[in-house]
Each structure stands twice: as C-alpha cells, then as structure tokens.
Amino acid sequence: MLLNLITAAAQPDTSFGSDTLHSDPPDEPLREQTVPITEPGFRIGINISRPLIQIIEPSRFSVETVFDYNIGQELFAVAEAGYALRDLDEPTYHLQESGLFFRLGTDRSLYNYSNDVIAIGARLGFSAYDRSAPFVYVEQDYWGEYSGYLSEESFFRQWAEVVLVLKTEIFNNIFLGWNLRGKVLLFDKKDRHMEERYIPGFGVGTTNSTLGFDFYIYYRIPVRR
C-alpha cells in the first residue's frame, strides 16, 4: 500500500505540469516538475489523534507537539515532543507508567505542490519514563492469594523510526496531515517485570518493533527569505 502511494505520488501530473508551470517533457522526473516551495515557514502542530485515543482508552493520556522547518526546498527539520501516561486501575492490579518523549529527524519531500506534501522521513526517538504498580493481586492455584506491589523504577529507551508523511493545506497556513511510522527499539533490554510494555512515544507492545499512526493539525508561521 505504501509503495502504491509513493508510486502514485511519483507519477507525472500533466494537468498542472505542462499547462500552468512549464513545458517539461512528460517523462521528466517528478521533482523537476513541481514548483519550489514559495512560502517557507516554521510549522507548529499538535497531534490530534492522541485526544481521540483518550476518548477510546480513558486509561491513556498524552499530548504531543510537532515543529518543522524547511531547511531546503525538499528537506524539513522535524522535532516532536510530548508527555504520555498509562494508568491501568483494574480489580487485580494498578499499573502506572508515565514520561516524556522526544523525536528528532528530517522529512524529505517526494512531492510538494501548492503546500501539499508527501514525504518520507527518519526519526530518532527518546523516552524517559517511570513505572510503578502500587497494587498487584494474583490468585495462585495451590497457595491461594498473593498481594504485592512493584516499586517505582525509571527507564530510558531509544528507538529509530521511518515515517511516511502526508500534509495538505486546508485553509491559509492551516495544515492537516498524518504520519505512518515504523519503529524499532535500539539497545533493547529485556524487562524483568513486563511482557507487555508501554513506552511513552513508542507505544504498547510485546516486541521491540511496532507501527504507529498519528494525525496532526499545523499552523505555519510564514517567514521572509
């Protein structure tokens, strides 16, 4: 599906390429047919899929902001930062995990026209978070009830991401966009207490890789060049 999307994006679009811009032959590479970014700017956004996740999963709360700035015609520097929390208060346990996360990287546009962008990018992600379980109850088949807890522990994890980005300008300087992310934990260490881990900014899972999907709304602050 991703390949189809990228391939579709890479097809020459003669409807604007030949009539309104210039007369390159139709088999020219796409990048040469698109217009330069005429309105550079610093873009600030918020992740609007995170409040939606909280409506679906009230035990999870997170906020995330994103900043990007075009450092070339096709290259954007990207910084993302947020806070995430999972608080599972169940009859047999109470598990709390929360922390900050940061992602730094770049997006390279495959297509950029009229402020609509298809890009691929890479990120390095970092998360510093705490975990505790104030209450753990287990019914043992032979010995009966167990009641205990997990003391608070702090963790630091890093991961790498490959990102597919789509953005479109819906009003003047207001953009809507989504990212599809493939994430892999770096220097992963086995957790002594967790089969299913929650790492703020990385996600929930039992393996060292996962997919993510985020939806953003951005405001671009135009700058003069």
Binding site: I53, E57, V136, V138, Q140, Y146, W178, R192, F213, F215
Partner: protein, 159 residues
Amino acid sequence: MLNTFIKNRVISAFLALILSGVFISCREECHYKPQSLAGAVFHSLVEGSVVEAPVDNFSLSGIGREDSLLYDARSNIRNINLPMNGSAEESGFIFVFDEVTDTVWFSYEVVPWFLSRECGFILNFELLETWHTGNRIDSVVIVTREITTFDETNIRIYN
C-alpha cells in the same frame, strides 16, 4: 490531480482513524493465564551412571498444604512441576517415595510479571537456594534459576 489525491488521503485517513477507534475500544478477555512452575527431573544411579529415571508410588504436597496432594501415589513419574508460594520467601515440599519421606526447601525472589492489560500479572520466581533431608534424596541441584512460563527444567533431584 495529485494535490486532490493528497487531500482525499489525508481526510479519509482521519475518518478511518475515528472508525478504527470503535474497534480498538472493544476490549478483549484474558483467554489463558499461565502459571510459572519449577520443573524438576528425577535422576538415579543406574548401573554405575547417573541417568534420568522414573520414580514409583510417589506423592507430593506443599508444607502447610498437606491436605492437598500435588501427586498422589503416582507411578512412572520422570518429572514434576513445583508451584512456589508467592506469599512467602521459601516453599517446602514433602516428597514420599514408597513410604520413605523427604522434605525439600527452596528460597527464591518473587518476580511479578505483567502479561497484558487483560490478564494482569502472574508470578515468576528466581531461585536462590535449596536444602533437603536425605532419607531417599541424595542431592538437589538448581540448573535454571528463573522460573517462568517457559517449560524448562529448573531442578534436578538425585535419589
């Protein structure tokens, strides 16, 4: 037009995100909650060499739970599973081989293990030490300290 294509993709993905939330919000049940048991294998001296060997007329219970037998006069038992007590730092077991009784003790660290949101925690253990009486049992050796849901041999019992 390609920019119409992008707009359509962005907006339809947003709608898909909302719809997918309906499915994500359906919580699953815990279908299977495994238990971490210490696997023990019996060894005996047979014709001058130590080999895995079954025991007959074998009974087993936990000390403090003598009313509840884990094995009741069973024969041809090659390996057994021992449940450690998470509410204590030590667990003792009464081994009965053909009316010869031994007690075996294990000390350990209890390691709560979060399985999933649906299933919650189970208890893993890390074996520290073992000691025993010597009526029938010659020695007990810890070969794998971590007691988890993996089906491993943790202990060898020489008798």
